[in-house]
């Protein structure tokens, strides 16, 4: 079992301003016992990756509703990995067409949470994935 609180960073890459979902998820994960840093919007993948490493988080949530996710999500993961964040769990949200999801998963985004996803489902996914990874490491 993990003793320290799960640290999550939530950010919006690109020019999209729809931040309702990102803010709701930030509040939801905080209420689920996680430590949440809300980085805000209009960020480049570089800025997000930089913050992810500096803040030493376990999880990153990125969100986009403008349709630019294919240009922004894989790039963000790539930069996080390049900067040494190999184990950081990356999840995504927003309006993401179903056909893009396999490509995003291949690029390293562990899960995409679309509109209408209950908050508990997101918290549960993060907790179980991190726990599973922790157990795998012990083995």
């Amino acid at each position: 079992m993990r003793n320290k609180k799960i640290r999550v960073l939530i950010a919006k890459p690109g020019l999209d301003g729809h931040d309702r979902g990102a803010k709701v998820v930030a509040q939801g994960l905080r209420d689920a016992g996680m430590e949440v840093i809300y980085l805000g919007l209009r960020l480049t993948p570089e800025q997000i990756a930089e913050a992810v490493i500096q803040e030493d988080v376990d999880v990153v949530g990125i969100d986009c509703l403008s349709g630019a996710h294919m240009a922004l999500f894989p790039k963000t993961v790539e930069l996080i990995r390049q900067k040494g964040g190999q184990d950081i769990l990356v999840v995504g949200g927003g309006i993401i067409p179903k056909k893009d999801i396999p490509k995003l998963k291949e690029a390293g985004i562990a899960q995409i949470f679309g509109p209408g996803t209950p908050l508990d489902e997101i918290a549960k996914f993060i907790k179980t994935t991190l726990e599973k990874r922790g157990n795998d490491k012990k083995d």
Binding site: G14, L15, D16, G17, H18, D19, R20, K23, V24, A26, Q27, G28, V36, Y38, G40, L41, R42, T44, S66, G67, A68, H69, M70, A71, L72, I95, P97, G114, P115, G116, P118, L119, D120
Partner: protein, 537 residues
């Protein structure tokens, strides 16, 4: 049936919406004890609770105005012509995010965004082609543009002039509402002080040169999208309205000279009667604010004229055909509430851009309400209902509380800086999600009445070719224009930006040299600096 069964109810408390008003079993004249006849009045009479015009829709129907724009100008031009042929009576332009945030399509920050949330407009050349074959002298156009509103309005005027239209006769609206950008919509560029200067420059320019143009569209829609309740939407929007009126007065303008050109924009949710009450309350409140607070004498200054968009957030990705029904109820609320123009969302706006078929259904929804439902045949047909009048009062009371709260905190700019408004809205959004997750609030197809059946939806996609095409077009433009002239005019833009002079004339000059949105915005960024939002979480 036993007596207890007869008296038992489905829920402990009935509420209009989350964070909304608690609703009683039944309303009677006793609930309207404090209401005076002059609070309701007649349509076309102060305080305009029932409608701004005595004839309502018996005179003229509302303008059916579908928000559209995607890809390059050629594609959007085709869509506009299609909508026009289908009986649409006004245009409404959606610009892609780079145009809204002052970047050209070839800027690194525009990567992946070109043509996605709207049409790509980099220069006057794009604006000219957007309206090819559409006579700007004859149509009415609304443009959802804020931080770069001055540049885009200049381009629209220049394009109209090239068609031979007289700018003094142009009809339309520029959104030009920067305050709600800081609060909810987030396409700001500069900080509040220079931004308010740009807003008021546009408003005073319109007073002088474009008397038929709505110089601002003070918007609650985006706050509602971001999570605000109906009362918060009403209160915070009117608080912003007060700030704009005050800013114009501070600029030395007389209230009745500019106020008739102010317009508003609100959302319609599915809770039918709450929305109707909201629109009626808003009209009454604005009339009183203008008369009592600002001493307006012209009735046109007191009339709250507004556009409505059915709310995008309420539409679901799950079982998308249900959205047609939601949009119908929302559009009905807007019409019963007396809107001046209306956009109806396409049923899978929650998923992607709509195809022609989907926008046709959306437009037909308005036409069915207008011509088949009968609700447009008499003015304010639901006025006088005990419940509706009580709810109108209730929304007015709650919205007034928000306005007072904002002004007790030092006004809108202060309330934005400290994050008060943003925090109120974020907290309503969170409460809503909690209520849905806990099944206290039913969203059909999302948390209840779920079914496995999948609808196959046809959607419209904007591919990477659009971005390549637009960038190539921009490169060609920059090669072909007189770059010396562009640099000269940009340096004049810099001078005027740094002075007190109205910025509009020099921007008109600038766009005519085919200086781009990005180039002009870069100069302004340099002079004004950029805004960073306060962290409210």
């Amino acid at each position: 049936m036993s007596m207890t069964e007869e008296m038992s109810e489905r829920k402990k408390e009935f509420k209009t919406t989350v964070g909304g008003t608690s609703v009683k079993r039944v309303y009677t004249p006793a609930d309207l004890a404090g209401l005076k006849q002059e609070d309701i009045g007649l349509p076309g009479e102060y305080p305009f609770t029932r409608h701004i015009m005595p004839t309502g829709y018996r005179g003229r129907l509302w303008t059916m105005r579908q928000y559209a724009g995607f890809g390059t100008v050629g594609e959007t031009n085709e869509r506009y012509k299609y909508l026009y042929k289908q009986g649409q009576t006004g245009f409404s332009v959606a610009f892609h995010l780079p145009t809204q945030e002052g970047y050209d399509s070839d800027h690194p920050l525009a990567a992946g965004e070109v043509g996605k949330c709207g049409v790509a407009i980099d220069s006057l050349q794009d604006m000219e082609e957007l309206w090819k074959g559409i006579p700007l002298a004859k149509v009415s156009t609304s443009m959802t543009i804020n931080a770069t509103a001055a540049i885009i309005l200049a381009m629209y005027m220049a394009a109209a002039e090239k068609q031979g239209a007289d700018k003094g006769k142009l009809n339309g609206t520029v959104q030009n509402d920067i305050l709600k950008e800081y609060i909810a919509r987030n396409t700001y560029i500069f900080g509040p002080t220079p931004s308010m200067r740009l807003v008021t420059d546009i408003c005073s320019y319109c007073v002088q040169y474009m008397p038929r143009w709505n110089s601002i569209s003070i918007s609650g829609y985006h706050m509602r999208e971001a999570g605000a309740t109906a009362a918060q939407e009403a209160g915070f929007t009117l608080a912003n309205g007060i700030a704009y009126v005050q800013a114009m007065i501070d600029k030395g303008m007389e209230v009745d000279s500019f106020a008739p050109q102010f317009s508003f924009f609100f959302a319609a949710y599915t809770n039918l009667l709450e929305e109707v009450a909201k629109f009626r309350a808003l009209r009454r409140m604005w009339a009183r604010i203008m008369k009592e607070r600002f001493g307006a004498k012209n009735p046109r200054s007191m009339m709250l004229r507004f556009h409505v968009q059915t709310d995008g957030f309420t539409l679901t990705e799950q079982q998308p055909l249900n959205n047609i029904v939601r949009v119908t109820l929302q559009a009905l609320a807007a019409v019963l509430g007396g809107c001046q123009s209306l956009h109806t969302n396409s049923f899978y706006v929650a998923v992607a851009l709509p195809t022609e078929k989907a926008v046709q259904v959306a437009l037909r929804t308005q036409q069915i309400i207008a011509h088949e439902s009968g609700v447009a045949d008499t003015v304010d047909p639901v006025g006088g209902s005990y419940y509706l009048e009580w709810l109108t009062n209730q929304i007015e009371t709650e919205a007034t509380r928000y306005i007072n709260e904002v002004y007790q905190r030092g006004g809108v700019l202060k309330a934005i800086e400290t994050g008060y408004i943003q925090r109120e809205i974020a907290s309503s959004a969170y409460n809503y999600q909690r209520a849905v997750d806990a099944h206290e609030l039913v969203v059909v197809g999302v948390n209840e009445f779920k079914s496995g059946d999948k609808y196959a939806t046809e959607t419209l996609e904007i591919g990477a070719e659009t971005e390549k095409k637009q960038i190539a077009r921009l490169k060609r433009l920059k090669r072909g224009r007189d770059n010396h002239q562009v640099n000269q005019v940009l340096s004049r833009v810099r001078d005027v930006a740094g002075s007190d002079e109205n910025i509009m004339p020099v921007l008109v000059e600038a766009v005519k040299t085919y200086a781009t949105v990005g180039e002009i915005s870069d100069v302004l960024r340099d002079v004004f600096g950029e805004y960073r939002e306060p962290n409210i979480l």
